[in-house]
């Protein structure tokens, strides 16, 4: 299961500026530290490694202070704190750069790899994000970019001690994986989320070369089946593996090799198998690895019909796995076997059933034991009734995701306002919700805003476009308005249904902490966009599709685009000229326009199908494909 948001566990260290060597503040140039900090931030996990940079000169006061600062800054992990530190003065900037081991880059095109390596000399962990989220929904043609290659090349030269790479929506080739494996002898963790471009042969090579590997997590990525038995390519002998996740690899697996690997991985805590692992095979794995804390159960369906011979005692295997707190998989679930997980239900903090089309009757006996669940993902096949059961038991629920089993605009949705209302009443500690339905009422949304004040993420997708409140016939303005007014911690919002400009006025005014906003098929006019851009002071990521917003609306955000990670607008009313004006007025912003059809030669060339706009320290990228025009 994805863990998108890590906890901010910054250890605050009191820094007294007066004792630092104060030199004149850094002059602002095109690569001002503030701008750099905005695009590059420290990671969140603490890293207590000593700096390995030797001091060769005789210590002078400046250097002594720098050493002290170095040792102090090691404890500073919060990325925003680090950014602030680096702005104090030249000396602090330098020391911070030396002690920053984890780098977070939210948009791979916001800076060049060489800029990264010039500033930070000791990076051990890199988190890179590539394509914007709407690319997941076929709104971006393939081969748009976000290649990992230039990054692996640059870091291979600059950071021999790189240990961790975490990529999201990047294009990674087998060659990249090979280079990664060859360049970093101490490499420990590779996490690829929503990536593509590589295959099992790349994984095989990587697994074989990285002898110190602790984590190999392939999450929702597209992995080409090169018909390579990659599991067999892990080196012989005891491994350091702590986490192995390959749920998304759509090719058969050599089970014997997998079993052997698990047997010689005493530190393995997280194992997430693909659907090619049957229930019998899962049983065997569980018996060998009862220390697992997180288990991806594969198909959860038996290979063979049990023929008189006693079938394995699956419940007993779960009973023996006392440490399991996270369950996922169930890719081809045979519902009769689901009760086997009952022994671990009371300990579960995370349960992902979102690939299992189960009815309320299948869910209820299971969920009624899951008192400690904090994260629950499911298909809407569990119906409002299933959600009511969740609400009745899961008092500790923090994150809920309900996905559509029939993701079409006009399908029948078995979940509704009733389910949402029930959850709001039962799960008061809810912080994050993603809910797909066909129709909704303001009443249920308002109820959630009042019952769940801890909400930081509210994403409601009413699949029927432009649908009003189906009871009152009114727009959904009141509901979403209540969310932004009552949920004071809200940082992420996705709206849907029939919404007027008024809704956006409220969002702009009250959405004080909103960083990510997703809007589709909503609003009446440019005013809505204006309300957003003139409000929402913390807005970083704005993704819009199919709204009647044009150049005037876009222009109203000119004052802030340099301070945002990106703006995406597709199927709106933008013209090429309008976008070009913005691009020319804002040199630190790159404006890309393209259409979803690669060989589009239509007459409506003046209108822009998609605008993807982002700040960049190094100007336009050099690897844009033909169908992308950079204004």
């Amino acid at each position: 299961m994805k863990e998108d948001r890590s906890e901010m566990a910054a250890k605050d260290v009191e820094l007294d500026p007066r004792s630092a060597a104060i030199s004149e503040p850094l002059s602002s140039s095109s690569s001002s530290p503030a701008a750099f900090n905005a695009v590059v931030s420290a990671g969140n996990k603490s890293r207590s490694c000593k700096s390995s940079l030797p001091v060769t000169q005789p210590p002078c006061p400046g250097h002594v202070l720098e050493n002290v600062l170095e040792n102090v800054l090691q404890f500073l992990t919060c990325r925003r704190d680090r950014n602030a530190v680096s702005l104090v003065c030249r000396s602090w900037y330098r020391v911070e750069a030396q002690t920053r081991f984890e780098v977070f880059i939210g948009n791979c095109y916001s800076l060049s790899p060489s800029r990264l390596t010039r500033r930070f000399k000791g990076v051990r962990s890199l988190l890179l994000k590539g394509k914007p989220r709407f690319a997941d929904f076929n709104l971006m043609p393939p081969d748009w970019g976000a290649q990992f290659a230039p990054w692996v090349a640059a870091t291979a030269m600059a950071y021999p001690w790189l240990e961790k790479v975490n990529l999201k929506r990047m294009f990674v080739t087998d060659d990249d994986l090979a280079l990664l494996a060859e360049s970093f002898p101490g490499f420990k963790e590779l996490i690829l989320r929503c990536c593509e471009g590589f295959g099992t042969s790349g994984i095989a090579l990587f697994a074989n070369k990285c002898r110190q590997l602790k984590v190999l997590d392939l999450i929702e990525s597209e992995v080409t089946d090169d018909e390579v038995d990659w599991i067999s390519c892990f080196p012989e002998g005891e491994t350091h593996l702590e986490s192995l996740s390959f749920e998304c690899v759509e090719s058969p697996i050599n089970f014997k090799a997998l079993e052997g690997l698990v047997l010689r991985s005493p530190f393995l805590k997280k194992l997430r198998t693909s659907r090619f692992v049957s229930l019998e095979e899962l049983h065997r794995l569980m018996v060998q690895a009862s220390q697992l804390t997180s288990l991806g159960t594969g198909s959860f369906s038996p290979n063979d019909v049990p023929q008189g011979e006693q079938e394995p005692d699956y419940a007993s295997a779960f009973r023996a796995s006392k440490s399991i707190v996270c369950l996922s998989g169930f890719r081809e679930l045979t519902p009769e076997y689901l009760p086997a997980i009952s022994p671990v239900c009371a300990n579960l903090t995370s349960l992902n059933l979102s690939y299992a089309n189960i009815s309320p009757d299948i869910l209820k006996p299971i969920i009624r034991n899951c008192h400690n669940i904090r994260v629950f993902w499911a298909l809407d096949s569990i119906c409002d009734e299933g959600l009511q059961a969740v609400a009745a038991t899961c008092k500790e629920l923090r994150e809920l995701r309900v996905f559509p089993s029939d993701p079409l605009e006009d399908s029948e949705s078995p979940v509704s306002a009733l389910g949402l209302q029930a959850i709001s009443e039962g799960c008061r500690k809810l912080e994050s919700i993603l809910y797909f339905c066909q129709r909704m009422t303001n009443g249920a949304v308002i109820a959630m805003s009042e019952n769940c004040p801890q909400l930081t993420v509210f994403r409601l997708c009413i699949m029927g476009r432009y649908r009003p409140d189906h009871v009152t016939g009114k727009p959904m303005d009141d509901g979403f308005g209540a969310i932004v007014k009552n949920c004071k911690k809200l940082t992420r919002l996705a709206v849907s249904g029939l919404l007027t400009d008024e809704a956006f006025s409220i969002i702009g005014e009250h959405g004080k902490l909103i960083r990510t906003l997703s809007v589709a098929f909503a609003g009446d006019s440019d005013m809505a966009l204006r309300y957003i851009l003139e409000g929402c002071p913390k807005l970083q990521k704005l993704e819009i599709r199919d709204c009647p917003f044009g150049d005037v609306g876009l222009r109203s955000g000119m004052h802030r685009y340099h301070n945002m990670r990106f703006v995406w607008m597709s199927y709106c009313r933008l013209t090429r000229g309008g976008c070009r004006d913005i691009a020319h007025a804002l040199p630190s912003v790159v404006a890309e326009v393209f259409g979803s059809d690669v060989d589009d030669d239509d007459d409506n060339a003046d209108y822009v199908e998609t605008l993807y706009m982002y700040r960049s320290l190094d100007g336009a990228r050099k690897d844009a494909p033909k169908f992308v025009t950079i204004l």
């Binding site: 998304c248 079409l408 997708c461």
Partner: protein
Amino acid sequence: MDEFANLKETELRLGLPGTDNVSEERERVSSCNKRASPSDTENEIESSTRKTETSPPRKAQIVGWPPVRSYRKNIIETKKNESDHEGQGIYVKVSMDGAPYLRKIDLSCYQRYSELLKALEMMFKFSVGEYFEREGYKGSDFVPTYEDKDGDWMLIGDVPWEMFVCTCKRLRIMKGSEAKGLGCVV
């Protein structure tokens, strides 16, 4: 005349899809004529039905909506054992005069003109008026047309459905006076 006997299937009415009494059996079309050109083109067109006759017609699906990752959609589709993947559809571009950008529509989702027009109306939020065999569309400023393989612009509904699906290259919803001329060609 024979050439008009087959056009009953393509007769447009204001009723909802599925309310007409015409048999849903697909016919072998033995000869089809284009309204615009008098010369006959003998075509044997076998039309294939992707779905069973009893399942309701699918409406036009907007690309990328609802916002479910293709990864997840594919998993669900694999389980449903659906044989229709996006790649097998007959995708044509649709433009509408006055609308800023194109859409794409999958012709294989529809069995007859009324379904297609309904889908277009919903997608672009307009109404198409009533179709008359000789006079074209009346009652609306919008006229649905299409470009065929020969590059000719035709009125939607002029030829039998199966022939239309095979020869249509792209659609255009015309507006105003430009449309009138097209509608009146005999």
